[in-house]
Structures are given as structure tokens and as C-alpha cells.
């Protein structure tokens, strides 16, 4: 009876910890977004749609991150991690196209070639996706090991 109560208390603590952790991470990420977006204000003057798309991206990314944190230790965390990585790659492909931004401001037309930046971010996103998939594989193999009771000898 006492052990069951302890278990329930631990579960509540665990859930509370996850919520706090997810909230803190989300707040930190949002603060980072606010800092970077304030630095990018002069760029937003030339490319107004960029601010809107970045905001949508940050919102979806933070939601997926919170969901991943809340479902920590379950298979859903792996799903959300992979989804987050895929969303990042998809967003980059859709928003940046060929990596060249063309925009007009009054009578001026501005072209910014972000190919190098784009390549770098896509490579990082792919590494993130690879990591998420590895995590999912690791999680599944751990589960399989636990289920079969198989354990390799300690090295």
C-alpha cells in the first residue's frame, strides 16, 4: 500500500518534472527567438514575410519539443523527435526553395544568396534526423532487451 503510494507520488513528481523541464526549455527557446528576431529587424524591413514564416516555424517547433519532453521515456517521444527533425527539413525546403531570396523594396530589388547558409542548416537538420532515428532504434532495442530479459555481459 505504502509502496503503491510512493510509486504514485514518484509518477506525479516525474510528470511535474517533465512539465517544468518542457516549460523551461520552451521559454529559453522563445527568449532566444526574441533575441535573434530583434537582431534580424533590419532584415525584416526588406523581407517582411520572413518574420511571419519564422514565427510559425518557431511555434510549431516549440510545440513539438514540448510534446517530446512531455512524452519522455515513451515511444511517442521518438515519434515527436523524428517529426521535429522532418518538420525542420521540410520547412527549410519549402521556405528557402533554391536558397536565393529575391524581394523588392520600393524601387529596389534585393537578392540574397543563402545557398551556403541553406546547405549548412540542411546538413545540421539531417544530422538531427539521423540522431532522432538512432534514438528511436536505441529505444526500441532497449525495450526488446527488457522484454526478452537479454543482457550482454558487462565489458
Amino acid at each position: 500500500m505504502v509502496e503503491e503510494k510512493k510509486k504514485r507520488q514518484n509518477k506525479v513528481k516525474d510528470i511535474a518534472f517533465r512539465v517544468v523541464r518542457a516549460s523551461v526549455t520552451a521559454i529559453l527557446l522563445y527568449v532566444l527567438y526574441l533575441l535573434v528576431s530583434s537582431l534580424l529587424t533590419p532584415v525584416f524591413d526588406f523581407v517582411p514575410w520572413l518574420a511571419e514564416t519564422i514565427e510559425v516555424f518557431v511555434t510549431v517547433y516549440i510545440v513539438l519539443m514540448i510534446l517530446g519532453d512531455l512524452t519522455r521515456g515513451t515511444i511517442f517521444q521518438q515519434f515527436f523527435n523524428v517529426a521535429r527533425s522532418l518538420f525542420l527539413i521540410g520547412y527549410l525546403i519549402v521556405s528557402m526553395g533554391d536558397g536565393v531570396i529575391r524581394t523588392s523594396y520600393e524601387s529596389f530589388s534585393l537578392t540574397i544568396n543563402l545557398t551556403m547558409f541553406y546547405t549548412f542548416t540542411v546538413v545540421l537538420s539531417l544530422i538531427g534526423l539521423a540522431r532522432a532515428i538512432l534514438q528511436a532504434i536505441s529505444y526500441m532495442s532497449e525495450r526488446a532487451e527488457l522484454a526478452s530479459g537479454f543482457q550482454q555481459p558487462q565489458m
Binding site: L39, T41, F108, S109, F117, T121, L124, E142
Partner: protein, 268 residues
């Protein structure tokens, strides 16, 4: 060693590496944006000079204050001038390999216009026009970001012989065999350069025969007018024919920059 534990190491390493690289990328974007804010561009008063081969050189000083923390590289400025038909009459480029951070630089962008190329259309001599021009400026910002800005402008071209007119001939008696024909000549120099040269005018009869010729030397600074008279000494019968039948003037312009003529102006 557990299978899961063995995989955790590369996963963790990948995670740390990814986080470090993302932080580096975010810092790069932040620094680049912050530097962009501290860039300042300006242009000075254009200076005109002319060379005897008919080339007008327009020099525009461009000031770049790079107060940011990133270098500007491969700064390239190109201007293209076209005539009213869209045919290109001039292309000029200026290049500066690097403007280091925290430093100011001045580029003298030289635009050369060959006035002889423009004389295919005589309107440039006698009418003020707007020359279509395109300006393209490109640079590599923060080492990795090539940026290009372009715009279309119109450059106000001032005609060197704006409103050139030859008035109606009036007769004056010179002697028993010859008469004098006086014609007023006027124009305004709207160009950015002084027009120096001479004007030769042929007085032609209705049958295209040249009855007489006169010439005048002029030196007209920019934004000033020229107003003078030319006198033709012609035989009396020719003077009479001029007054009665009319004809035309053939006008030849000869300046240190270009020669043009004949400009045919009918009278009578």
C-alpha cells in the same frame, strides 16, 4: 556493455555536436544581422569631365562606412545607361576587393558616356531627356552571404544646344552688288559641361544652292544661354530671292567633344 548504452554514446556525441553547430549558426546569423545594421552607404556630388575624343566622364564618389563586425568582400558596382529605344549606350563597373570591418572606404565610380554614340539620335543635342539607367551593386557580406541590390533610375540629360533656333532672315543693304542677310541664333546649354566650338551656317536657296555661309565661335558654360546674330553677305539678286522664295539653313556644329551636321532648318 548494454546495446542501448553502446548506442547512447554516439547519440549523445551527435546531440552535443549538433547543439554546438546550431549555436554557432545562430551566433553567425545574429552577428551578421547586427553588422548589417551598422552599415552605412552614401553618394557624393557627381563630377563631370570631358575628353577630346568625345567621352564624357561622370565620376560619382560612393562612401561605405563598415561599422559592423564583418568584412565586406567583392564589392562590385555596375551601371548601364540606355537610350530611349532601350539600346545600351554605356556600361561601367567599379570593384573593391574588401572593406574591412570598422573602416570607411570611398569608391570613385566612373561612368563614361561617348557622346558620338548618342548622336545617332539628334534629340540628345537639342532636347532634355531622361536617360534610363540601371544600377546593380553586389557584395559578399559576412564571408558567406552574397547580396545584390539593383534598381532602375533615370538620369536627367541636359541638351547642350537646348532650344536651338535660327530666326527669320532680315535683309540689309551692303553695297550696290551685295546685300547682307542677318539671322538671329540662340540656344541654351543645359548640359553639365561647357560647349566650346564653332557654328557654321550655310544659307541655301529654294533650289538647294548655297547662297552664303557664316560662322560664329561660341563658349557657353553650363546652364547659360547663347544669343547672337550671323550675317551672310550675298549677291543682291540672291538676297532678293531669299526674301521672296525662302529656302533652308544647313547648320554644322563643331565642338571639342563632337561634330554634328548638317541640321536643316527651313526658313521663309
Amino acid at each position: 556493455m548494454k546495446e542501448g548504452t553502446a548506442m547512447n554514446v554516439p547519440i549523445r556525441v551527435l546531440g552535443i555536436a549538433t547543439v554546438i553547430l546550431w549555436v554557432f549558426l545562430a551566433a553567425y546569423v545574429g552577428v551578421a544581422a547586427y553588422s548589417f545594421k551598422d552599415l552605412d552607404f552614401g553618394a557624393g556630388e557627381p563630377q563631370f569631365s570631358a575628353s577630346p575624343d568625345g567621352t564624357l566622364l561622370l565620376t560619382v564618389p560612393l562612401y561605405i562606412n563598415n561599422n559592423g563586425v564583418c568584412n565586406l568582400k567583392d564589392l562590385n558596382i555596375t551601371t548601364k545607361f540606355s537610350d530611349a529605344d532601350g539600346s545600351e549606350i554605356s556600361t561601367s563597373s567599379s570593384y573593391m576587393p574588401v572593406v574591412p570591418h570598422g573602416q570607411n572606404a570611398t569608391i570613385f565610380h566612373n561612368v563614361s558616356l561617348n557622346i558620338n554614340d548618342m548622336l545617332n539620335n539628334q534629340d540628345y543635342l537639342f532636347e532634355d531627356k531622361n536617360l534610363p539607367a540601371s544600377l546593380t551593386a553586389g557584395l559578399t557580406f559576412a564571408e558567406l552571404l552574397p547580396v545584390e541590390i539593383s534598381t532602375n533610375l533615370t538620369y536627367p540629360w541636359g541638351a547642350p544646344f537646348y532650344g536651338f533656333t535660327i530666326g527669320q532672315p532680315s535683309s540689309s543693304h551692303v553695297n550696290s552688288t551685295h546685300g547682307g542677310i542677318v539671322v538671329p541664333v540662340s540656344f541654351e546649354n543645359h548640359a553639365a559641361f561647357a560647349v566650346v566650338g564653332n557654328l557654321r551656317v550655310e544659307l541655301c536657296g529654294s533650289d538647294d544652292s548655297v547662297l552664303g555661309a557664316a560662322q560664329a565661335v561660341f563658349e557657353v558654360p553650363p546652364q547659360t544661354g547663347y544669343d547672337d546674330s550671323l550675317e551672310f553677305i550675298v549677291p543682291l539678286d540672291a538676297a532678293l530671292a531669299t526674301a521672296v522664295q525662302g529656302g533652308h539653313f544647313n547648320v554644322y556644329f563643331s565642338t571639342i567633344l563632337f561634330d554634328y551636321g548638317p541640321l536643316v532648318i527651313p526658313y521663309g
